[in-house]
């Protein structure tokens, strides 16, 4: 049973956000008997309510509240108020994600050591190693039911994967398969197996793809130690004169301000909202925002080097049938500066339906060339290119000077410009993706620019030293002992892998730390 807690109950852990980080942390704490209140800005839509329709689903799930953009990235021109395609709903972006669940590599936890001092890059090693993370990765993979782990078979390959595999073989790539996916290839954990429906991004109506919405959250609620409050947008975090946080002020479903007391506050609103909230919680004691003595809150915003390659063939493909991210090539995900850049990238199949293909293939483009590209839709295959981008101090989430949301809270501005390393990697990835499809007989290929960001990372980064980042190796803020960050904003660097598995693993680890500190009387 979901446990309702009083606003005045200052014994609860308040978690802001219910996605991969917040939802997992909440359940892990509740399982240990710790009382948790999760405040979620979005509404609660159960999985049977999801919609197999791109624009209708976007209206249902996406965070469409105004955001601003700046910098030289193309998203700022094409989608000036939509820097990110992430979710505002219970379950957060785990409703929308594709399911790819890859462990980071050893060298990626030590980016500064391996990549060196790149001009303009604010690189740092993680204060945590792969060896330390491995047990938590293992627990996350089991929790999420990741294919190719725990004796779970891989998913069957769809048409889009078969094209990728044929091209990968021709190019001599060795690591191509249907991936490590948190999508059930067989019924598991009370959930269905994948029915190859093709609307992973719109929320899995079968519940086959792991999402906190129908795993961590109901499991946490069932303990009697967790309450989820949807439609509750946190506006600021409060603290006492000793500098400890004491609770949060949020706008409830009716737009009224409420104050929820807390013993501990964990911020997990994704890498745009989390720094926005910390910055908006500035006080006379913390004039630059909470947990910001380093000045790094909001900085080092990363979004992965992304891009896509779509290709048209002379015969039908029907790429939209089946798992959206149906396969992967991992050969380029390695440290090999001889390619002209540091870091690596993954090649992962991707498909968009016709409405989103029209919007994202080449935003702003028009005329017969564009129209004829779409007319090749039935014969199209596609892949997403996702690689490690460089943290840069000037790529930052800040509070906008004049624009405010419905509750009077300044909206976030997302400033981003590609680093030269990002550009070199993208060009390499475009060339390799096109070559892969050319090897299978593509008649036309489209190097497609990055979409609004789905992987938002790094804006409250983890660091060994307090001067270099916002949180320590447990996601605990350097400045305030009972303030935590529990989402991808704590990433020191982005690595080349999709971030969710690492976010979940860090949340499991963080729950263990918080439980221990509470038991020891330190929190």
């Amino acid at each position: 049973m979901a446990a309702p807690y009083e606003h005045t109950d200052d014994s609860v852990v308040v978690i802001i956000g219910s996605g991969a980080g917040g939802g997992t942390l909440g359940n892990e704490l509740a399982q240990k008997g710790i009382d948790v209140v999760i405040l979620e800005a979005g509404a609660r839509h159960e999985y049977e309510d999801f919609i197999n329709d791109e624009w209708a689903s976007f209206s249902q799930l996406a965070w469409t509240d105004k955001r601003m953009t700046s910098g030289d990235w193309r998203v700022a021109t094409d989608f000036p108020n939509l820097p990110a395609w992430i979710v505002k709903a219970v379950g957060g972006s785990t409703t929308h994600w594709a399911g790819a669940s890859l462990r980071f590599q050893e060298h990626e936890f030590k980016a500064r050591t391996h990549y060196g001092a790149l001009d303009g890059a604010n690189l740092l090693d993680w204060p945590i190693t792969l060896a330390e993370m491995e047990p938590y990765y293992a627990r996350a993979e089991d929790k999420m039911g990741v294919t190719r782990t725990n004796d779970i078979p891989g998913l069957p390959g769809n048409n889009n994967f078969k094209i990728m595999k044929a091209g990968a073989d021709k190019l001599g790539y060795k690591e191509c398969n249907t991936g490590h996916m948190a999508i059930n290839s067989q019924p598991r954990d009370g959930r269905n197996s994948c029915q190859q429906t093709g609307f992973c991004f719109q929320g899995c109506k079968w519940g086959a793809k792991w999402s906190t919405l129908y795993t961590e959250i109901p499991k946490g609620e069932a303990t009697g130690h967790m309450e989820v409050r949807p439609n509750s947008q946190v506006l600021r975090i409060e603290h006492d004169k000793t500098g400890k946080v004491t609770g949060v002020v949020y706008a409830d479903k009716d737009g009224n301000e409420q104050r929820q007391k807390a013993r501990i506050v964990a911020v997990a609103g994704n890498s745009i909202e989390s720094p926005r909230l910390l910055l908006n919680s500035a006080s006379s004691m913390f004039p630059n925002g909470l947990a910001n003595s380093s000045g790094q809150v909001g900085r080092n915003y990363m979004r992965h080097m992304t891009g896509s390659v779509y290709a048209v063939f002379d015969k039908p493909v029907h790429m939209y049938r089946g798992t959206t991210m149906a396969g992967i090539v991992r050969d380029e995900s390695r440290f090999d500066p001889s390619r002209g850049f540091v870091g690596g990238y993954e090649m992962e199949t991707l498909s968009l339906g016709l409405p989103f293909m029209a919007a994202f293939l080449d935003p702003g483009s028009w005329g017969r060339s564009f129209a004829s590209a779409l007319e090749g839709y039935e014969n199209m295959a596609g892949m997403w290119l996702v690689g490690e981008d460089m943290p840069q101090e000037t790529n930052a989430v800040t509070l906008h000077g004049t624009e405010k949301d419905a509750f009077g809270m300044p909206v976030a501005n997302v400033n981003f410009s590609d680093h030269a390393n990002d550009l070199a990697m993208r060009n390499h990835a475009y060339a390799q993706g096109s070559a892969l499809y050319d090897a299978v007989g593509a008649t036309r290929t489209f190097p497609t620019p990055p979409y609004p960001s789905t992987h938002n990372l790094g804006t409250n980064r983890m660091s060994e030293k307090a001067r270099d980042g916002v949180v320590n190796k447990h996601g605990q803020s350097h400045d305030i002992a009972n303030l935590f960050v529990s989402d991808g904003s704590q990433f020191t660097t982005g690595a080349s892998e999709n971030p969710t598995l690492t976010i979940v693993s860090l949340a499991i680890r963080q729950a263990e730390f918080i439980t221990g500190e509470m038991a020891a009387g330190k929190l």
Binding site: N158, K162, C194, F199, H318, R321
Partner: protein
């Protein structure tokens, strides 16, 4: 409120304000009125402006405007086709895709000025006979290219990329099948049926 008159088109739009008619004859327009109307293009389906309506006699639909001039709507429809030219897509889908500009123009004077001003500018740049008088797509595209940076063009294109491609009725022309959950997904319906590799 714009109205799409068509037995077929009525199915194509979710909006409530659609009347079903079997053809232009049923809209109260006599053959004479049609002949009095202005033929707006000699290419493809013939569009005719009559009274407050844009009529497509050959395909039996009509679009009545409430705020925008019907000539403006006819030009918008042609402009929409020139922006995203799909020769297998009939004019009525382009008409449905741009008709909301009339609704917005009725609600918002600045939107009406944006559209009327933009179309007026387009006609002026096209010379005698206006935009619709240019017989070749390349000629019209040359004019559009001059204005593609304007708020008018971007408003029309930005709305169109959603309102055209989000019409389910045209998806089969692209080989897109849409919703699949109710059919049990594609696990038994060809998710891996590629046979030419």
């Amino acid at each position: 409120m714009p109205t799409v008159y068509s037995g077929r088109a009525a199915r194509l739009d979710d909006d409530a304000h659609i009347d079903e008619h079997r053809g232009a004859a049923n809209t109260g327009l006599s053959r004479r009125a049609l002949l009095r109307g202005t033929a707006v293009t000699g290419l493809g389906a013939l569009l005719v402006v009559s009274g407050r309506a844009v009529i497509c006699p050959s395909q039996a639909w009509g679009l009545e405007t409430a705020s925008l001039k019907p000539e403006t709507m006819a030009t918008l429809i042609q402009m929409a086709r020139d922006i995203y030219p799909h020769d297998r897509i009939a004019d009525r889908f382009y008409a449905i895709a741009v008709k909301d500009h009339d609704k917005k123009a009725a609600e918002n004077e600045s939107h009406r000025d944006l559209i009327e001003g933009g179309i007026g500018d387009l006609d002026a740049r096209a010379g005698t006979g206006g935009y619709r008088g240019l017989g070749w797509e390349e000629e019209r595209v040359a004019v559009l290219s001059q204005i593609e940076g304007t708020a008018f063009f971007q408003t029309v294109r930005g709305g169109l990329v959603v309102s055209l491609y989000n019409q389910k009725e045209i998806w089969p022309l692209f080989g897109y099948e849409g919703e699949s959950y109710s059919k049990g997904g594609y696990i038994h319906r060809g998710f891996d049926d590629i046979d030419w590799l």
